[in-house]
Symmetry: C2
Subunit: 439 residues, 2 copies
């Protein structure tokens, strides 16, 4: 009999197989534990929202890429494309009952119908953590400290948290060419890493005059001071280019609050080339880059957005937050680097030597599970070769043998499946003890 439907995935979508999913769950668990450690609260919001709610502040790309359609009741609805806009909507709806500041974390899927390309998918899992209702530098610092702890928990080697402030380039442009299109200039700077100096100058020159172009280049060059003079030196250099401004003052405050708090203190680098794409950012912006795996991209990025909640609420509430593209990290690792070695399956398998003993296998398995051992039972007395192949594919480290002989003697035989070392004639309690000691 042939199949009636061709099983296939949509372009730009992926399944997570067990080896991938166990890593994703492990990462999410660690990130969530970090947020809990900072006292953040979990929430969840629907995947579907009214389209006008999601698109209230979205730029052209989101408009084009969003999955939008009409539901059974003719409503104009869409799938969320990030977790920040739904948070703003959530805060507006629940404002009266929320603690303020409201510190929340959330993990879940978002969808963008963008052109699929390496590392870009149309469905992705994000982890977000935000503080709503505090414009204090302490909340900027907390966001950075939390981001650095998240990057540390991913265990992907050294990283830097590159930080800037939207007001730095804003002040510069206001000073040199107050007519210039700031958003256009920010977009060019955002891509500066991929351009030669000549290309950068040409691209900037499309939007402003030579003096401003030179000032922007000088601004970008200030990050060169980091190696010799540290962040304080970079900030002094920025101030020499831009003049005293709110952005530099806030970054100095963040630096002072950081003190020697690790892992942030060693990772934090003021870098005026950091812009971040979203239009809603109004203050500090940052991204986290892996030193040894730049191809993974940012593993934690965000910034301050003090006008977003006001779109949905008469209450003006500031916001600052970060986001980790967990899926992107996991799939980049799978493709480039190899996934961390986390076994998804059981610790112990009960081989089925005799279908007549099936009830005994169930009884033994229950005892092993009660002792905290993840215990798999092979369901039928297929050839042992097939059962071994199953255990090997799942990389289950221990196997338990129990046949007619063992039943008569009241024993079990334990085998370490990697080394093939056998421990016959054990009581079940002894076998459980051995496995527990090893896992």
């Amino acid at each position: 009999m042939g199949s009636t439907v061709t099983a296939r995935l949509l372009k730009g979508f992926r399944d997570a197989t067990p080896e991938v999913e166990v890593v994703r769950r492990t990462y999410l668990g660690r990130l969530e534990a970090v947020a809990q450690g900072f006292g953040y609260l979990p929430i969840e919001t629907p995947a579907l929202e009214y389209a006008d709610v999601l698109l209230a502040r979205a730029g052209g790309d989101a408009q084009k890429e969003i999955y939008r359609f009409h539901d059974h009741g003719g409503r104009d609805i869409a799938l969320r494309f990030d977790l920040t806009v739904p948070l703003a909507r959530f805060v507006a709806v629940h404002a009266a009952s929320l603690p303020l500041p409201f510190k929340r974390y959330q993990s879940g899927k978002a969808w963008r119908g963008e052109k699929p390309q390496k590392g870009r998918y149309r469905e992705f899992v994000q982890f977000d953590a935000d503080v709503i209702g505090s414009d204090a530098a302490a909340s900027d610092l907390e966001t950075l400290a939390l981001t650095a702890r998240c990057a540390e928990e991913l265990q992907l080697g050294p990283f830097r948290v590159a930080v800037s402030h939207r007001d730095v380039i804003g002040s510069l442009v206001r000073r040199h060419d107050s007519e210039a299109n700031l958003v256009a200039l920010m977009r060019v700077v955002d891509k500066a890493g991929a351009l030669s100096r000549e290309e950068l100058i040409a691209a900037l020159g499309e939007h402003t005059g030579g003096e401003t172009v030179q000032a922007i280049c000088d601004l970008l060059d200030t990050s060169g001071s980091y190696a010799s003079e540290g962040n304080a030196g970079v900030l002094d250099a920025i101030e020499r280019v831009v003049g005293p401004c709110e952005g530099v003052a806030r970054l100095r405050e963040i630096l002072s609050l950081t003190g020697d708090q690790q892992p942030l203190a060693s990772a934090l680098q003021v870098d005026p080339s950091i812009m971040r794409g979203f239009e809603y950012y109004t203050g500090m912006v940052f991204e986290t880059q892996l030193a040894q795996m730049p191809q993974v991209g940012s593993v934690g990025a965000g910034g301050r957005y003090d006008d977003l909640i006001g779109l949905y609420s008469s209450q003006q509430l500031s916001g600052v937050g970060m986001s980790v593209g967990v899926d992107r990290v996991v799939h980049a690792l799978a493709e480039e680097q190899g996934l961390p070695d986390i076994r998804p399956g059981g610790d112990l398998i009960l081989f089925c030597l005799d279908d007549a003993l099936a009830a005994d296998y169930q009884r033994i398995a229950a005892a092993c599970r009660a002792a905290g051992i993840r215990t798999d039972v092979y369901p039928t007395a297929r050839k042992l070769k097939a059962q071994f192949a199953y255990a090997e594919q799942l990389r289950i480290p221990f196997g338990l043998f129990y046949g007619e002989e063992e039943r008569e003697r009241g024993t079990v035989k334990l085998k370490e499946l990697l080394t093939r070392q056998e421990h016959p004639e054990l009581s079940l309690e002894e076998a459980i003890e051995q496995v527990r000691a090893a896992i």
Copy 2:
């Protein structure tokens, strides 16, 4: 300044506030740990699939209720309405690389545009666990044992796992009226609990003759034997009505495999009224009911489906599995019963007594977090009344005071916020030790 967009939720959709979300996450974590304990592997599949893939075996309700639309590339796509159909599609796509039997668990959202009503929402989180590629009674038993462990982990009081087999009513109808519409009769029996005996007889009578109606009533009455004669008595009674059949034989085998394995052994009850709605079930069917909270509905239900994978694959693979409607349970509790008391927030709050000490608060918080204490920092030196109100709303049990005086002495003051007991003049290490001992 007024808001520009009205923040609102779609009808039939809910936000999960922190008190709800922390319970949902706790439940999901426990259910996932049970599945891991049985050696099951995690996977994830996309929320969006080709509509023809999702609807391959769906009945009329799913057709009507599914969220279906065309994407940017004109593809006919839809949101998944359960996790079982995507599993069948997943198995067909990845068959070559999967271990068999393939035991998988998955948790995630599904969507149905059904009429919103009490306890029914258009978006819901499910937890599923299934075994693919084993038609053994041992896999039926494992599914029931796992279900009973899941129900136990929800900690909602006593429960029963009511089990039947599709072949029981199938054999009965074949014997008495092989022309009758079995699916229609099953639908009536599925609703029998809400009908009087007269209504039941009338409803059955629309689809078959009096002799068959009587036999079905006799079949349903067999569950009365449970109190005096246990499951073996019910099965004997069923056999007297239906005659020897595959369904009774398989249920006897499951019973024998159960032995005295708890919590299943005490919870398992053969009940021929159990039908389950989905058309894809072919063997054992079951549902789990809470004794003290019947209004919560089934907290774990499922069955065997041996023809579903074959829709997508030339390989015929049997399946058996269970599903917990986690969202339904959580929201039913929130409405009826009160949620279990799980605090979502921090263990300790650092009150901000002086903005000039902000860097010290960050340093102290980092030390507390490193010691495993979930530590919140109030970001600015607002009035203490406001800071206390924040801590009270989050039910944070400990507060730490550190002002100019403490800074000079090198001490902190710890306060138990519920009892208002104060511990002044502690070293930071002593305070950390006290909080750790209490949490």
